[in-house]
């Protein structure tokens, strides 16, 4: 086992999972205190601006999740190792969760500030498209009848679908938008007060820990489901796939078929 693999195994082991859980819970509690009690209300928006301390981290983690899907998908296409497919699937699922959360939180902020839950603004529209792309990715994983084919098709979509992420981020710069332009990830100094920036950065760190914890749990679920599929395959055919490779046919509920 390589050094990087050993480190990954330690991080995703049950002990690493527990450490991440405790760190994420502590971080989220600290973030809630800073966001709701310590940071001042916004001069123009008032209390509702506090939603930014959950909306912005959720959007950042959606970007991060889909970046991981992109890298893991490219790695699967190059190596055909099942661990990359599992990582891409885990990250896509968590990314969809955070994208949906971003949209819901944005709507809750939009109603009192913009006077509407939803508008076909470039940022909102491209984010909705992003959600649809990765819902399609998850749907694709359900329909393919062979694990290898499923992994290959979804890896292609995982690479191509990532094109929308920079479009979402730059939409407020490229097109006329109701949505405010970047306040932190921009050329020059952030356009936000120091106490608010601290609350935001703590929130981003805490949510990133929670994201890492969800990914490790989802990876474990993926390994267990793959093991169940392999057991089913070997019970039916007596064949066991080679180490690290996906079985060519579906083992549990799907149809048996050749890999094309």
């Amino acid at each position: 086992m390589k050094r990087s693999e050993r480190m990954m195994a330690r991080l995703t082991g049950r002990r690493g999972e527990r450490v991440l859980a405790v760190a994420a819970l502590g971080g989220l509690a600290a973030s809630a205190v800073l966001s709701l009690l310590v940071a001042p209300p916004d001069a123009l928006q008032g209390e509702v601006q506090r939603l930014m301390y959950v909306h912005v981290p959720a959007a950042w983690l959606a970007y991060l999740s889909f970046a991981v899907v992109f890298v893991a998908s490219a790695a699967y296409l190059l190596t055909s190792r099942s661990r990359w497919d599992r990582l891409a699937a885990a990250s896509a699922e968590v990314g969809v969760l955070f994208t949906a959360l971003t949209i819901v939180l944005g709507a809750l902020w939009g109603k009192p500030v913009w006077g509407t839950w939803w508008t076909w603004d470039p940022r909102l529209t491209t984010t909705a498209v992003l959600l649809l792309i990765y819902l399609a990715y998850l749907a694709l994983r359900q329909v393919a009848d062979s694990p290898r084919r499923r992994a290959r098709w979804s890896a292609v979509l995982g690479v191509v679908g990532f094109v929308d992420v920079p479009i979402v981020h730059m939409s407020v710069v490229w097109w006329r938008s109701l949505h405010q332009p970047p306040t932190v990830l921009r050329p020059g100094a952030p356009t936000i007060a120091g106490s608010m920036l601290t609350a935001l950065l703590v929130a981003v760190a805490a949510f990133t820990l929670a994201w890492a914890y969800l990914i490790t749990v989802r990876l474990r679920v993926g390994r267990l489901e793959e093991r169940a599929a392999t057991e089913a395959l070997s019970a039916r055919t007596g064949r066991v796939p080679s180490d690290g490779q996906l079985p060519p046919v579906v083992g549990v509920q799907g149809r048996a078929g050749s890999d094309a």
Binding site: V54, H55, K111, L214, V217
Partner: protein, 49 residues
Amino acid sequence: MPDAGYVAAGYLATAAALGGYLLRLRVRARRARGRAAALAGRPARPARR
């Protein structure tokens, strides 16, 4: 605080989304473990007569 309801709804939605997803993962893990254990208990191939 006129907009406190929106803020409360946002934080509750976040907690529900993260907590709900985690619960769902735990259920999936238990099911997969049970399925693998049940299948591993069977003979690899049906016995020939």
